[in-house]
Subunit: 312 residues, 2 copies
């Protein structure tokens, strides 16, 4: 039974127009094996991009928005543009090989810039992105249990992204050591996750999630132009809120205002998770609401609307 | 002929007290092969640390200081402490397998936190660091040709490192996407490299190098407590300067003052490289001085003194 499906992609077809048969587009390999070169730029430099979501009963949640964001990350990283149709087909092929009873395995799409041309092995190779895609029922799976949260500084002012694009703010890169460090800091403090803010006090995002605040009937999330990811699950939540007749807003959101929210939601990987405490202040949440929005997302009811929602 | 030597280390022996025979300490593998799991934290998260230096005619330049810095990075990353003696032996074994005529191949020591415990493959594994070491005569080798430079903001204020240790400033992590992006920005601007500064105008370091300014007979470098690496080659340069009767200083160095230096040196990987232009201002350099200091470093004359030099 395939509980973990790992496919090594054809970088030339996935980042170009070359038409190849399915079996040449993505090659399924033994997940327990060694499948990556030590000279790959993912290994040596964290120099690549990725996306992650849940596949719910065979349905890859928000896949189009994830692939659009992958293309956006690629542009910010001066990488070639991904072939969205080819990526979609490759994801379908990975899903087709999965047959574990777990309904919601995690899907990850990983792209590196290829072998490091500053190494002897990489210098001799073509500069083709390394791509792999995996579906995993045996690792950590998303849950919708309420989570406690603290706020921490990201160290940057809120105008840095326009002034210093080389910081790569807003790109979902493989250089996640900082994100991992924030989670270790959360463990030390005994909290579930963190929301980051700028030095001048504006809300950003969580290390691997977006944040949404609710004030009355209005759902608010920080505008991505501040230098954060354009949340995929956050847009599904906004789509749900609009379908329910609520208002949604993208704007600069002071962290002090976030602390005063009526409700807080952390969103990632196809899930909306209630936040029940921020910086020591308890927050209410409605388990029925959380179930309703996750069900709407997983059954595709928010999908089409989420494609058209955005900060502009 | 082994021009590229790649050894996969025994993480348990290299991060513990277990005594193992040489052939179990590091296993030489085919550099052209696939030697890393797709679920390794180096691949998925850039969650690891590294060091790089030149091996000059069999002599690994500044190896003790590199391994001490590896231990410092491990501590900042909440990783176990490396066994310095075991790492030294593993490096020796890699060097012993090298037999290319190139006198100065590049040595890299790479450590990741191991397989990702949030994946199914990683969850089933022990949490042992992944270690590999390679010596490479066929990739980019260091040169001492003069280089042009521009200054760019790092986006952080100069006091952020003490306030926000989760930013990992001062750790040499595998999350180098930002460093790579700075080099692409340099390419766009037609300059050789960049020196980074804080939002409040203090000099930091270059993406993969340290910076040293000379004013008369005084050599100055930024104090690492600002959140930068403790330069290994920079300490070799300081050792040389002291042997020549010059003065050395660690301090906060305004970027405006850096721009007024008499001479500028970029140091990395066992080399001192003259900077002949910063932000459009030409700088003089003395090729004989550069040759002298690199020769002193490569023949080990600065080695012992460099071990005792530091900001305190």
């Amino acid at each position: 039974m395939a509980s973990i499906v790992l496919g090594m992609g054809n970088g030339r077809a996935l980042f170009g127009d070359e038409q190849v048969p399915d079996k040449e587009l993505i090659r399924l390999v033994d997940p327990e094996g060694l499948n990556i070169s030590a000279f790959d730029l993912s290994v040596l430099r964290g120099d690549g991009i990725f996306e992650a979501t849940t596949v719910w009963k065979g349905y890859p949640v928000s896949l189009e928005n994830h692939l659009r964001r992958l293309a956006h990350s690629a542009a910010l990283m001066d990488m070639p543009a991904p072939n969205i149709a080819a990526f979609t087909r490759a994801v379908d092929l990975v899903i087709a090989a999965y047959d574990d009873p777990e309904p919601g395995p995690l899907l990850r799409i990983i792209v590196s810039r290829g072998l490091d041309p500053e190494t002897g092995v990489g210098r001799a190779a073509d500069r083709v992105p390394t791509v792999f895609i995996f579906l995993d029922a045996k690792g950590a799976l998303h849950e919708a249990d309420p989570i406690t949260m603290v706020s921490m500084t990201r160290g940057y002012p809120s105008d840095i992204t326009t002034r210093a694009p080389w910081l790569l703010n807003g790109a979902k890169t493989l250089s996640y050591a900082f994100n991992c460090a924030v989670h270790r800091e959360c463990d030390r403090r005994g909290v579930g996750d963190a929301v980051l803010f700028t030095e001048d006090g504006f809300t950003l995002e969580c290390p691997n999630s977006s944040i949404v605040a609710r004030y009355g009937d209005t759902f608010v999330t920080p505008d991505p132009s501040i230098g954060i990811l354009n949340g995929t699950s956050q847009r599904e939540l906004f789509a749900w809120a609009m379908q329910e007749g609520r208002t949604v807003e993208y704007r600069k959101l002071p962290i002090a205002e976030l602390r005063e929210a009526d409700r807080l939601y952390m969103t990632h990987g196809g899930w909306v998770i209630p936040v029940n405490e921020l910086d020591g202040r308890a927050l209410e949440y409605d388990p029925a609401e959380i179930d309703a929005v996750n069900d709407a997302i997983h059954t595709g009811r928010t999908h089409d609307d989420a494609l058209t929602i955005g900060p502009r």
